[in-house]
Symmetry: C2
Subunit: 436 residues, 2 copies
């Protein structure tokens, strides 16, 4: 049953149009004239933070850029005709950084929808300031580094907020050799104060994020919105296959120990094994042969494996299966192989309560369209993976036509954004009703 | 029936020991302290030419370094007690340049064996000079660039001798950006005089080369020597597979157009098709995926194909078969592919007469060991491929334990070198008898 009353469809449609126009405006803030590129601690990062802060202040929010370069805006809880300072806050948001050659919606649309939800829910105080008539304060957060496009390490912005910053990261370097520490100083941030970005669990009610689905499931099902059940984390491996470099002319097939052919079979085995599973995706994105000469049988091949699954156990079982298959392949070809795990993060489950309020929010927005909203797990990473360390996380997915992501052709419709804004506002009100 | 009379086994064994010792001596002339590396027009090239010239002069040869940096030595025809200048010459030889991280025998052993054959066959004139009592003069040639390790283009030295130099080659560059023209000047050679290296067909009787087999066939058969029937030439292709780059997390398998998986199937198809053939070898030595990110489904893959066969027609038929198979693979995966041919040279047949004299040479050396010597085609390239443009070519292969080539572990036994020296000398005498 809808809780958001007195909000006309026209008003939500106008909010969605504003989101779409601002996505276009932010897309122009790019380091590259050829595709969108907005990396952590860059001049473009500073510019979009200033824009977001302006938009936050338009809504009567108190704004700050935190010690990790995240941009925040806050509406205090409205009690009677005045503001209650320092109430625990529900955070809404996503990120404003991009990969290279990015689309204009990944992350961005979630920040802008959060602003529109704040606009729909805010109310004036007796002295013409603004707050939210809810049992908690409302914050909008624009995380500064979700993609990890500059320093290789993703989720830097939300890790600072979650208080899980690792001092080893200061030595990370970008493609130009600039360390993360230097980049902080050049951006005007003090590395020594990074701890000030961290929030305590008691300050937060939870974190809700709207994001485009980075896949085609909603598009295929003809649905606009989904409840996210969990964010799957990837395990990543670098695999090395070792054979013997030999002269391509003189070495008959039965004497070859061709590492590239072993690696080729390995890539196909990953596809074959994962495609037979549900909710497991394995990808070989890198493969190279050495010495890499046209007339030499490759003696070594290196390949990457990115393995994701809804549940850690399933994902690990599939890795074991892939490992056994690689043993068979390499044994048959008289090759050796070994692997190094370069990334391993457990899946983050969305909090059952926040899954419920998002479900209610979708049902209130799309009454009768379905008995039960679609639930999806997210094979892609999100800020919720780190924020989950400090507070409950919930997510709402928007339909992504053709499922194209991290690409200039990435898209979302204004109509779906309008539905998403209403569903997200309803979710906040459901949570408020639940805590009242 | 042996024609080489009055040569004791001890004398041939001493010749083989000298060859092995000189292989060691030349191995020390290397640009790298870590493996042998001796590329065209390098200081090491100049040093081995000086060594070879000294060894030639020890035998009474007249020496010259030609306009392409090849080192030559010549014994004139001995008639009565004096020399007949300018008789057509039989050339014996091979090359002194190496690939990077090379073995010490490929090419080198053929030059040094040619010197020992000249030593066995030479005779003094009445005035204490040396000539050969044969119906032709004898030249030993040390070609300067067979491998093409510096400028990518192989057979530069012998192409100059064959008169098939292409002026486009002057613009070829090495890894440091030095052009072939600059390298000539720095070596002290005049590019304008390259034509002076070219020989006329009337000057030459033929070209005979001893070379280690670059494969394991003789080793497997337990035989020391083989007659080479032809030198197969490679066709080389650069293949490009085009799909679509997508987010590794969000793109289900049925929506992927993964160029790397198409390329992996292609590499395995090359192996499957060629392994089912006789005398066809296909090798994928290079494979790379783009954009090459761990979390992006590759939208493009590039791979090389090196395809060799004894007969041009068979090789071309197999390429057609591979092409059809790639159409099937890429069609099934919704990928596109195209290829660019970067090298195409026809097989060079060894002259029937020179095959015969090498066969007689082997039979005279290994009487009773076999009714008919083993014949092999060479899947690897040799200087004979270019020299074939100006004169008849014959080749003798020596057993290569384990078939290891272009690698520091490459080897040949002193005993086989002794057999090879005798067989090569017998071959020269058979040719002399044939022409007498």
């Amino acid at each position: 049953m809808p809780l958001l009353t007195g909000v006309t469809p026209d008003r939500v449609a106008a909010a969605a149009r504003r989101v779409m126009a601002r996505c276009d405006e932010l897309a122009r803030v790019s380091a590259s004239s050829n595709g969108i590129e907005r990396i952590y601690l860059s001049p473009e990062h500073a510019r979009v933070n200033r824009l977001a802060a302006e938009w936050m202040r338009e809504l009567g929010m108190r704004t700050r850029q935190d010690a990790a370069g995240n941009q925040l805006g806050r509406l205090e809880r409205l009690v009677g005709g005045g503001l209650e300072p320092a109430a625990p806050a529900l955070m809404l948001g996503s990120h404003l950084d991009t990969v290279r050659d990015a689309g204009r919606f990944d992350g961005i649309v979630g920040v802008l929808m959060a602003l529109e939800v704040a606009r729909l829910l805010r109310a004036p105080t007796d002295d013409d300031r603004y707050g939210v008539p809810l049992p908690f304060a409302l914050e909008v957060v624009a995380f500064s580094d979700e993609e990890g496009a500059r320093f290789g390490k993703a989720l830097l912005g939300s890790s600072a907020v979650a208080g899980i910053w690792d001092d080893d990261w200061w030595a990370l370097t970008d493609a130009e050799g600039t360390t993360l520490r230097q980049a902080f100083l050049e951006f005007g941030l003090d590395p020594a104060r990074i701890g000030e970005a961290a929030r305590r669990p008691a300050e937060l009610v939870g974190y809700l994020e709207a994001h485009i689905e980075q896949g085609p499931e909603l598009h295929r099902r003809g649905e606009a919105l989904a409840v996210v059940t969990s964010i799957a984390a990837a395990r990543r491996f670098q695999l090395v296959v070792e054979g013997e470099s030999r002269h391509a002319g003189g070495t008959p097939y039965d004497m070859r120990r061709d590492a590239l052919l072993g690696a080729s079979e390995a890539a196909l085995a990953v596809e074959r094994i994962c495609a037979a599973e549900h909710h497991i995706i394995g990808t070989v994105g890198q493969l190279e042969a050495f010495p890499g000469a046209v007339n030499i049988v490759p003696g070594e091949a290196r390949l990457s494996l990115d393995l994701r699954g809804e549940l850690d156990g399933e994902r690990d079982r599939v890795w074991d299966e892939i490992s056994r298959e690689l043993d068979v392949i390499m044994g048959r070809r008289h090759l050796r192989w070994h692997s190094r795990e370069v990334h391993n993060a457990p899946a983050v489950m969305c909090a059952p309560l926040l899954q419920d309020v998002v479900r209610e929010g979708i049902l209130s927005t799309l009454p009768g369209a379905m008995d039960e909203p679609t639930t999806l797990f997210s094979p892609a990473g999100h800020d919720g993976m780190s924020i989950g360390a400090v507070t409950d996380v919930g997510m709402l997915f928007l339909r992504n036509p053709d499922g194209i992501s991290h690409h200039p052709d990435e898209s979302v419709s204004g109509a779906d954004v309008a539905l998403g804004i209403r569903a997200l506002a309803e979710s906040v009100l459901q949570l408020a009703a639940d805590r009242a």
